[in-house]
Symmetry: C3
């Protein structure tokens, strides 16, 4: 029995296998439309997340399976004080695999210990969100053909953004990936990423404050939201906010094959005027997210070798 | 790619085709039970509406398809400030068609502009609710055999009732339909219906205050709810309320083939004592609503010619 | 047309047939995986109950059918003042069978009167919860081979626990079942159980305060939760609370084949240290709950003779 609790639960080779399968699915989704006939996915969402929940549901339905579950803690037994360990044992009688979103860090890990079925961490607090990371990896690989030899700019709130931290931890396992970290000083990556991950592993990186200073160097630009409340002062926010908004002007300075990713939802950090730019890849990313979740479900159910 | 945003998006001929298909489905629903195998409907309900949502879900399941979505804004990403345009682009990666209910007028139209899949307006504020109108048209046609040559009484709150306005706009496209508008003075149809639709198109109509005065003339009686809060005064309400409650006594004065419709839910405007009267057609109407939605899904997916 | 509103709606013979079918399903669930192809279950949950709702959903999906519905009153039309009678008539147009949970006693019975489809009571206030009782009966029968000739201890809150009352009413229909009722004085079974059910039917029973005094005699121990708020005083609670917590020490005094059941969710009345004891049957009970609901759906749809 295998679970997916952290993106690093999968070795580089296992990730490669998974992305290869996802890629095959992307080319011919129809071919996989009965792989999970009769199988059930439980979506246990202790906090709402429409995008992630529906991506899992679409993935399971695309494979011919069915879905049951809940979309917020209100409509669950959590309110009756049941432990996650008991809930997962019950759910193990109802479904073949589950995706769990929980506000508490570590809840999916606790669940996995007692579970009779594979548990996928669909986000636990500020901690991990491994299927987002797999989606990001698939997107980069599909667009560039490889996860080696490129420069990625990570832009916005790099302090609190869990997707950014997970992506960094995953990408340092590939060859010759250079990181340019673009954020206001108060939202720079924390030391446990800068020191323990980047410096400790001799990874090439750079920290800058302004997107326009570095955009011409980038092969991939990973945008995230910058929230006003996180700035030290209103003045500081007003001075800096435009540095982190991607618009036509900044895109004009970028390479012709620099792709823009975003974990979504966006607010205003990417201007809608660039949505139709062929380099805008954030909606393609959503589609890849479905395929990678299909591949993951097949893999955790042990069906990946049969297709 | 086609959407259904307003009942008038369909020409009379297109409506005819749709109702013909719905009618064929009604006669033999089993025959259509695999038409949408492998297809997915997204139900995006930014405000709750069990009846409408479940009617869409039943329709899609009856066709062999699957359903995913959300049933209220709380459990959606709307709370994270995502625009409807972004949401629909994401949903376009998850589903083949969607039904959207939204408290804001025009939201489904905004969604349709950016959508990769057909969008069905399942109600946008006080504005439009086209599948209710199609349901009403199908019900009248199934019961009477035709949408021409009859007298319809529309009774209750004609000022705020969007279903009534849409039904009027649709029925004036048929031959020799006479309207009798039955309401308290303060709840008469607004000028943009009386002047711009009825008078402007030389449609025969009459406005009266009391249902019992006109019920013998009617071929169809379309009841709606009259809310106490909408009267000028308590006295006025007490004086008038019984005029708009349909009971056995009033039914005794009606034709033997006068059918009663209601968009539901009802409160007390139709007495339960007439539920078993063969002329009470409001629960049949619910069933027709499923068939017309099945026909609509097939049509928008371009599958109507294949069955 | 048949409904299941109370566990006693089924005669002993009908219960036997149902449990036989459930037992056949338990042995080979795959064999039943297409019995309900094209059928729809509506889950009408006017109050949340994840465990029960998902058990019904898993049951229907296991049979090849589909599910639609709502999981709380907020997202239903109940808030618009629609009666349960009207709702069920509408739902009868959408589904082939329904499971209804409602905070008001008797609501499912009211629904059944107007329903065009079988109604299963999935819990109505403190009144009935017949599928829990059928689950309990199946669990005892599967574990012991028979519903005759055993001693059952019912432990905890016997005053307010509806599952306990229903189980007693059902078990007195079998031969030579002895009851040991283990509870604080203030939470003893009410007179309408003690007098009208047990004494009136000459059933052998005993009332005690401490689990450890009687555990060696038991063949089945049915645990329920004891809530602090229900004691007369804090002192009383402190004096007694440990009497109703099942732990390794108490289990050591029990027979080797004494099985422990619990309707779940538990809080702390069963120590997690005994979860791996082979006599701990409360998670098996959950699995049996799915099988018994599969059997029930087949029976109410008239499909039990075809499989």
């Amino acid at each position: 029995m295998k679970h997916l609790l952290s993106p690093l639960d999968l070795s580089v080779d296992e990730t490669e296998d998974l992305l290869n399968l996802a890629s095959r699915i992307a080319k011919n989704p129809e071919k996989f439309s009965h792989c999970c006939d009769g199988k059930k996915l439980a979506t246990l969402f202790y906090e709402p997340s429409t995008r992630t929940r529906l991506s899992f549901e679409a993935a399971m339905i695309n494979l011919g399976g069915s879905v049951l579950g809940f979309s917020s803690a209100d409509s669950s037994s959590a309110s009756k004080g049941e432990s996650v360990s008991d809930t997962i044992r019950v759910i193990s009688c109802y479904a073949d695999i589950c995706a769990m979103r929980h506000p508490k860090e570590g809840a999916p890990m606790v669940a996995a210990e007692k579970s009779g079925i594979p548990v996928i961490n669909a986000g636990d607090g500020g901690h991990q969100h491994p299927t987002q990371t797999l989606t990001d990896l698939m997107t980069i690989r599909e667009l560039r053909g490889s996860l080696d030899n490129f420069t990625i700019g990570l832009c916005g709130d790099l302090k609190f953004g869990r997707t950014v931290h997970s992506l960094i931890r995953s990408l340092i396992r590939y060859k010759n990936v250079k990181f340019i970290l673009i954020s206001p000083k108060e939202l720079r990556v924390p030391d446990y990423i800068r020191e323990d991950v980047l410096i400790h592993n001799n990874v090439e990186f750079e920290e800058v404050e302004r997107l326009e200073d570095v955009i011409p160097q980038l092969d991939i630009l990973y945008m995230t939201r910058v929230q006003k409340e996180r700035f030290f002062s209103e003045d500081e926010y007003l001075r800096m906010k435009d540095f982190y908004i991607l618009n036509k002007e900044k895109m004009a300075a970028a390479k012709d094959n620099m792709y823009v990713l975003h974990p979504l939802p966006r607010v205003n950090e990417i201007s809608v005027e660039i949505d139709d730019d062929p380099r805008a890849a954030y909606f393609k990313q959503v589609q890849f997210g479905v395929y990678v979740r299909m591949a993951l479900i097949l893999t955790l159910l042990g069906l990946d070798k049969t297709v």
